[in-house]
Symmetry: C2
Subunit: 550 residues, 2 copies
């Protein structure tokens, strides 16, 4: 694609930038294929610049006015001569909730800039996106992309080898479009069986192992819903696979993240659930979790409430309640807690799914692993967990993160599942400030990167799509970048102390808080909290602890 086609005005002088916590400043605005760059007139160094990925822009609002004061009937018919005395204003609302305003001299220039932003911020084709153009000075392409892969993961987990095997039945993505090329399944289940099971599970997502609990040998499996349909269809292979999971153990749990009623209704559209009669060693628990549009609307309401400038405390608390975001946080954490209870306290394996198994299923399995497994709580461990449970497991980032809370576009497949997961992790981090090896800054960084990034990690919707787009060959990996010494220092929790225990978050409403660091991140107070983090970092360095030793 020729980006220049979409850039009629590349440079504008004398633009006034207004952004939170800064006085207005005058300078030059520049639009490129992927960036908006504002350079302050006074300052020459890069600290005087604002560089914004166009992809980060969720919505823009433009208004033009003729400085003569006469707003004629044809103000939209731009005549470069007539427009010379006029100006325009663009308000830019970013996916990371940053809002800035540009006052641009010249109506035509303003409209051109707005037009460029509107087009270039919503590119559909993955290959046009910035990660394919980003070349940091320390880029290494020969290196392995990502932190691990299913093969390596399996090889390292020796305790798995007796009962579990690595299947490459999906090596050409023909069995399940959203799975990676290799998955871990019970040893006794053949690839042919898996193919049959895949036909019985939504999106081909047959049950695969996602977590092995070393303390008791129990596992978390995840899948799509069984396609029993109105006729209560059975699939002997599916039943056999699940039986193989629990082997000679007396039972397992299925956590279905829909209400019993929703699961029943799903049968009408070809879906369904595991009936007691066919899966008699499994006990089904229903925990309804919102997904999709409901979650997206909750985010929109919350962000709208956070931006409310009224000084009315009652109104704020009522809007906060009305957004229901904290209820979703609570449900996600308590469902993860339920899973841990089944697996760690009760000592049984668990299968989790909702309908398609690519949203709340991944959210809950991620949180449960963080709660149970100390190796997921280090910086590397957590990034590895996200790589396995979100990126490789097929969370459709491109669809879910196409827009954030400001867009006026009609909702399609957007849903802040990943953001909700980060919020839940933040709640755990706040309740156990010593137990996680990474800082709030990492969660904020990930929240931004999921929506707009220099890196290829969150591109596309699945391993298959990333493979087709050659993401691993042509872009940089975010997770590897975050582990380089300088970034690592910034994202390490200096107070981290390893604990083997499960960290059970309190899910009482009183224990859960608005994640102000994210939702109010562009306000004064967040800046002060950053000062505290910096101060603690300094002290750790002074006190001789090596920040990198974690």
């Amino acid at each position: 694609m020729e980006f220049s086609e979409h850039i009629k005005t590349a440079n504008v002088e004398d633009v006034v930038l207004q952004q939170p916590l800064h006085p207005p400043s005058r300078g030059t605005l520049c639009i490129t294929g992927h960036h908006l760059l504002f350079s302050h007139r006074e300052e020459q160094d890069s600290s005087g610049q604002v560089l914004l990925l166009l992809r980060n822009i969720d919505a823009i609002e433009k208004s033009v006015e003729n400085l003569s004061g006469y707003l004629g009937p044809f103000t939209n018919v731009v005549n470069s001569k007539r427009a010379s005395g006029s100006s325009g204003t663009i308000i830019i609302k970013c996916k990371d909730l940053f809002v800035l305003q540009l006052d641009i001299p010249g109506m035509e220039q303003c409209l051109n800039i707005a037009q460029s932003i509107e087009t270039l911020s919503c590119l559909d084709c993955v290959a046009d996106m910035y990660p394919f153009f980003y070349r940091p000075c320390d880029a290494i392409f020969c290196d392995q992309w990502g932190l691990s892969n299913p093969e390596k993961h399996y090889t390292e987990m020796e305790e798995l080898h007796e009962r579990w095997r690595l299947s490459t039945v999906n090596r050409d993505y023909s069995v399940c479009v959203s799975y990676p090329t290799a998955v871990i399944v019970p040893k006794e289940i053949s690839d042919d069986t898996l193919k049959k099971v895949a036909k019985f599970r939504q999106g081909g997502r047959f049950p695969v192992l996602c977590y092995y609990h070393r303390k008791n040998g129990m596992v978390i499996m995840r899948s799509g819903q069984p396609l029993t349909g109105a006729n209560r269809k059975r699939c002997k292979e599916d039943e056999r696979l699940l039986q193989a999971v629990i082997e000679d153990s007396d039972k397992g749990y299925i956590i279905d993240m829909r209400s019993a009623q929703q699961a029943q209704q799903a049968r009408m559209t070809g879906g369904g659930f595991e009936s007691k009669s066919c899966y008699n060693s499994w006990r089904r628990l229903h925990r309804h979790m919102e997904r999709g549009k409901t979650l997206q609307e909750s985010l929109i309401k919350l962000v709208e409430a956070c931006a409310d400038k009224s000084h009315n405390m009652g109104r704020w608390l009522s809007k906060l309640e009305n957004s229901k975001w904290l209820s979703h946080v609570q449900t996600a954490l308590s469902t993860a807690g339920l899973l841990v209870e089944c697996l760690e306290r009760d000592g049984h394996s668990v299968l989790i799914h909702d309908s398609d198994g690519i949203d709340s299923t991944l959210l809950v399995s991620t949180l449960a692993q963080l709660i149970m497994d100390p190796s997921c709580r280090t910086l590397e461990g957590f990034l590895g967990l996200l790589e396995r449970e979100f990126v490789q497991a097929g969370h459709p980032f491109q669809q879910r993160c196409a827009h954030s809370a400001f867009s006026h576009a009609r909702l399609q497949q957007e849903s802040p599942v990943f953001l909700l997961m980060l919020d839940c992790v933040w709640q755990i981090w706040r309740q156990f400030p010593l137990a996680l090896g990474f800082s709030e800054a990492l969660l904020l960084r990930l929240a931004t990167e999921a929506y707009a990034s220099n890196y290829g990690t969150f591109l596309s919707n699945s391993d298959m799509e990333r493979h087709a787009a050659q993401v691993k060959d042509k872009t940089q990996c975010l997770f590897r970048a975050l582990l380089k010494p300088r970034e690592r220092e910034q994202y390490t929790n200096q107070l981290y102390e390893h604990t083997e225990l499960a960290i059970w978050p309190s899910v009482h409403p009183q224990s859960l808080q608005l994640w102000r660091g994210f939702f109010l991140r562009w306000t004064q107070q967040t800046r002060h909290l950053e000062e505290v983090q910096q101060e603690i970092r300094n002290m750790v360095i002074e006190s001789g602890k090596t920040a990198l030793s974690f």
Copy 2:
């Protein structure tokens, strides 16, 4: 008073104690004149003890049951033989929100214990209270009591001496019962004039200086409302006093912490406000702040909401909103902000009062000083500020803190004004984590001490009452105790960095939070936050910063 009269059962064996975050434990319960002591059976050292000031107990709930299972019609008629097989339960709810349960064998013993607690926790006579009996091993009685006094304060403030004088017109408390013996007034105003003004101000609280702003020479004055009454009575001396405050400056501000309507209505009961025509150099601003019963009811609702065990997020947020506590926090902070704006930004002196000038007046003047004056933000500075603006200025602690959120007694004069002030300070502390020299632990300690204490600092309702009860001769001073090295270390903010600037708290509803450290202090998460504080303290010590150098 003979405490033993009220103790029919002093010791009970085999009592089971249940308290939050601990497993139940069995041991011996002991009641003394001022304490409840529970000693665990297994542990011999004092860590196995729970020692509770009876004064800290806000409410008790008792229930007795006969173990035979038959609850006869005369269960209240205690017969020691019949009751031998029965038991009782006492739930004790403390003013610092701690709740514990005692299961006591023997119905009679249980009722005796309950009776003792009910009587001894509500002693009216100051001289019977525990501070008169408390003798720490490092007690020093010859030392000065308190951190400072008005005389010393005036002597130290040399910049005051030109225009202000120390008046001892109240040396025998005959002019104003709630003022200390010495106050600072304009130099040109004689003691005779003050006596006349005192008759024109509620409670005899004529306008006195409470803060001198070194940066611009402007002051905060505080007083009771003027007693203009329905007939719009004037007092030339009062007008002259206020004129002397602003001298040749063009104007001053009066912040009246009642709505304009309330101020009008106050005239019907003999009160009133400073009319424009009589005080034409003063501009009156009305900012309504709740006090008294409304504030107490708000606290009760909030604590009730915090104890709600339901898992419904919407219900919690709705109850939080409904308690209105955060609205009161917001109003207090924004009124203090208004004061600072008048004084520091606009550069004019300010007189503040509500009706009686002993509640919200003190709250707002305290917060304003904390915001403006760096010397009030150190540990000593803050305690000195509380001593001047609450203790010496006549906040009636004994009445206001007689009961906290649990008591079933009819509300009398209770009102959590001091607690609200501490909450506001916590909000500032959270927004400016480096700007205050003291820690959250200090605020928590003060919140507890105001309601029940070993020390005499918060006894009685005024300097006059403390003098009559010989508090300064016979009790220990809390503020001095908090500055001893061990305590000081515990209450110092290790991250403190001095700043000369005013610290303007954000009062947007989104910026204010529930003070979880206090209101949810007996829950798991608070314990983890304490771990963080401890960890930071350790690092500071390791890094070679001297905690005591602030």
